[in-house]
Structures are given as C-alpha cells and as structure tokens.
C-alpha cells in the first residue's frame, strides 16, 4: 500500500487539486497577522490619547499646554471613598493639565493601599487610616505625610431604626445598642480605613462581634456595602461622602453622627523611593503638593455643594490632627 502511495505521488496524479488550496491559506495567515498587528497598534493609542485629548479640551479654558515631565506616569493608590464620591474625577484632570503627569488611580481600601506602598507598587497614597499610617511612617515606608481633608463617619441604618439609636449621642452607646438588640450590622472587613475605624469602635465598647449571627462581612467597597445594607435593612458605618453621593438609591438614614471618634481624616503620603527603583518620587511630590495647594483645597471644599447641598469634604491643609480632634 505504501508503495502505491509512493508511486502515485511520483506520478504526479491529482496533486494540483491540493495545491489549489494553498494560496488562500497563506493569505489567511497574512491577513490574520495584519489584523493582529493593527489591533495591537490600536491598543496603544488609548493609553497615549488621554494627554492629547485632555490638552485639546482644556486649551479652550486655559491656553497653556501642560509641561512634559521626564517620568510622566504616577500610580496613586487611593481609598475607595475618594473614587466612589467622584472627588478624584474632578481633581485628577486639573492636576494632569497643570503638571503633565498621567495619574493612574487605583481605588482600594486604605489597608491595601499601604501594602502597595510598602511593596513599592504605588508612588503616592491618599488614605484615611491614621493608626496604620503612623506605623507606615515609623517603618519609613513613606517620606512625607500631609493632612489633606476630613469629613466624618456616620452610622446608617433603616429608617425604622430597630435598635433605637437615633437619639443616642455617643457613637459607642449606639454600637452597644445595636449589639444588644442583635440587629444586622454589616462590616466591610476589607482592612480599609472605614473597616479599621469600625473595629476600633467595637474594641472601645469591649464587644467582639466576629462570628455573631447579627454581624456579617461583605468584603467589598463602601458603595457596594451600602447597597447590601440598604437591601437587608442593616446598620453599617460609612464615610459621609460616599453616603451622600450614593444616597439616592439607598433606603438608609443617618442614625448616628457627631461623636469625635467618628472623625475621618485623609492624608497624602509620598512613598519612600528606596522601595523600588521605579518609584516616581518627583511625581509623588508634585501630587502631594497639589493636594495641599490653596487652589485645590478650595476645590475640595466646594465639591458636592451644588449637587448634594453640602460639602463632602472639608479642606485641612496646614492644620494638625490635634486641631481637628478638638473641634
């Protein structure tokens, strides 16, 4: 049989029919490679285009073109509340236009943001977990830490207020009542600034909620956790900014506020450049300076007033934490 095939091939036989299939095959490969190359080339354009578009759109406003820094990419690890509240969507374009830096904001919990800083995966942090921040600075993971702004945490829950905390002045007493009534309480449990504050409050009242049937952990960001709380009719602790920005879809009311322990303070931290050779120290410095500059502070103070009837954040550059606490 094999002999037959051999002789058949040698004789030429019908092979031209097979060869006819070849040209389209080669064209197919060529076309695929071409499309592939185009697709990959196209892929790079969205990364490059924002600087061009942002400059063209803002040229009408300010006739200056942004400067071109040597190392233009900055990774900012920022707490979810600054993203979910929309504040960064306002500030970052201004910063990019002014300085030419291209900021990549990664919105994560403050705990994760500091881990990123520690590993040198981020250049600059915007976080709100003061106790962890102090440790972060003591371990010299950061080179500077500046107070940017504050707002406050609030205890939210269903309007029916099953734990009757509405008229309780102290946040600690309110949390005690929630625990005593065994009403569902949602924890972010993502080591975020909000989560750290919540655990601090539980510790202060001497209750360990872990594993209790009324204590559930979402493991998600503030916006998502508020959605869950709203659906389940549960209590939770949130920063005021995220609550106000997402309130329209929630059936949750503010039931506890005003206790000094609920103060929510945001700092900007420049990551130590010894963490990685890739740290953009100049960019981090520029961003930190921008956040505490007079103009930015004014923008922060005004943010949300038109939309929510009140400011979401209060600018604090130059103040000390002690001054805020005494307020």
């Amino acid at each position: 049989m094999s002999k037959q095939i051999l002789s058949y091939r040698q004789a030429g036989g019908n092979t031209p029919k097979l060869h006819r299939h070849f040209p389209p095959h080669i064209w197919g490969i060529a076309a695929t490679v071409l499309v592939l190359a185009l697709a990959i080339a196209g892929c790079s354009s969205p990364a490059a285009s924002p600087t061009t578009t942002s400059s063209t759109t803002t040229i009408a406003v300010a006739t200056t073109t942004p400067p071109k820094p040597a190392n233009p990419d900055i990774i900012l690890a920022s707490t979810t509340s600054t993203g979910d509240s929309g504040l960064m969507d306002v500030l970052l374009p201004i910063f990019q236009q002014k300085t030419g830096y291209n900021v990549k904001p990664i919105y994560v919990g403050s705990g994760q943001a500091m881990t990123m800083g520690e590993k040198g995966e981020a250049d600059v942090l915007l976080v709100h977990a003061p106790d962890s921040e102090v440790k972060f600075m003591e371990a010299s993971h950061g080179v500077s830490r500046k107070l940017v702004m504050h707002n406050d945490f609030v205890i939210v829950g269903p309007a029916s207020d099953p734990a009757r905390i509405k008229d309780v002045k102290s946040a600690l007493d309110a949390m005690k009542k929630i625990a005593a009534a065994s009403v569902l309480f949602l924890s972010r449990s993502d080591n975020s600034g909000t989560n750290q504050l919540e655990l601090k409050v539980w510790k202060a009242v001497g209750i360990d909620p872990k594993g209790k049937s009324w204590y559930q952990e979402t493991g998600q960001g503030m916006g998502a956790t508020l959605n869950v709380a709203s659906e389940k009719g549960a209590y939770t602790i949130t920063d005021r900014a995220t609550y106000l920005a997402t309130k329209k879809n929630l059936s949750l009311d503010i039931l506890g506020q005003g206790d000094p322990i609920l103060l929510n303070i945001y700092h900007v931290i420049e990551v130590n450049s010894n963490k990685s050779t890739k740290i953009n120290a100049a960019g981090a410095r520029a961003f930190a300076d921008f956040m505490v500059s007079a103009e930015t502070q004014q923008t922060i103070g005004k943010y949300g007033v038109d939309k929510y009837g009140q400011a979401l954040f209060f600018p604090d550059a130059g103040k000390t934490e002690a001054e805020l606490g005494s307020k």
């Binding site: 095939i5 299939h21 070849f22 499309v35 196209g42 904001p105």
Partner: protein, 232 residues
Amino acid sequence: MELVFEGIGQAFWLLVSGDTAAWRVILLSLMVSGSATLISLCIGVPAGTWLALSRFRGRQVLVSLVNTGMGSPPVVVGLIVTILLWRSGPLGILGLLYTPYAMVIAQFIIALPLVTGFTMASIQQLDPSLRLQIMALGASRWQMVWLLLRETRLPLLAAVMAGFGAVISEVGASMMVGGNILNQTRVLTTATVMEVGKGNFPLAIAFGFILMVLVYLVNSLLTHVQQRSRTR
C-alpha cells in the same frame, strides 16, 4: 424595573450623543478582547491541532491541563499576572501593569485553553479514515493539516466565539491587572462594576446593555460566516 428601561435609554443616549469617554470604553473593550482572542487563535489552533494529531508520552497530561485551563477562573489568572507584572515581580521591568497590554496578556491566558481545547476536540471528532484518505491521495503533512482544519472550520468558529465571549465578559482579571483607569484601562465590564459600587444603577445597566449588544453583534457576524460556509 423602570431602572432597566432608564438604563437602556441611557445606553442609547451614550451611543448617540457621542460621549467620548463611553465610546473609548467600548472601543477599548473590543480592542483588548479582540487582540487577546486573535493571539490565542494564532497559538491555540496550531497547539490544538498538534495535540490532536500527535502521539507522545505525556500527551494525556497536556490534554488534561488544557481541559482544566478551559475552566480556569479569570480572577486567579488576573492575580498571577498581577504578581508577575508588579514592579517587584519578575516582569516588572516591562512596566506593563495597569496598561491595556496587561489586560491583553491576562485575557490571552484565559482564552488560550478554550481555543486549544475546541480545536483539539474538533479535529479529533473527524473520521480517522479521512486522514488516511488524504494521505493516500499523496498530500504532504502540511497539506493534510490544512485540509483537516478546513473540514473543522465550523467548530473552529465556535472556538473563536467561545474565546471572545469568555474574555470580553470577564471582569476579575481586567479589574486587577488594568485597574479600571478612565480613558486608559476602563472596559465595559469594569465600568459596570464601578457604577454599581457608586450606586449609579442606570449607568451600570447602560454599560451592561451595550456589552450584551456588542457580544451579540460579534457573535451574529461569526455565526453568519459559519452558517454560510456550511451551506457551501
């Protein structure tokens, strides 16, 4: 329910009003997932063909690996790619994390086993005597492979659809390696998750709706090609 209609209305408004940010999100979704699918085809089809036609020690292990890979959780792929691309990671020197390229890499890894597996399965389901017959007609090895692939073009298009469908609708890996950065790495799935987090449900539904329409359009195009070649 009215949220859904509000969302669909918003989707149309985003498309018609030429909202540049929204269009960029849509185009980036198509480009990232399209490139990832194309690259996985370039490697997955030859790999699948080879696995289907060759006999060697350890082939069984490789086939099992491919089959496992077909169900690999995108979020795990995302985590591994993130660790590799970290500044402190082995590929950190490339500076690819939080860029569209990182998303293409992650999606390619998700799509590759699907394409390889589908190719392998479709070639193996051909009548083995067809191979003999082609060889008997005096075809070279490459000619035989080409003819077999031609025979399996219907299931191969299914491989394209499965690969593309898996990566464009994937969110865990894209979020992790891309970072959901506006105008840079925000795609339809990550934008949807973000808007849900913000409580902007109509906008979330709008992005979700656009995504579904997009997947439908791409698949109907592929189906058209597939069914046309069937009747030929």
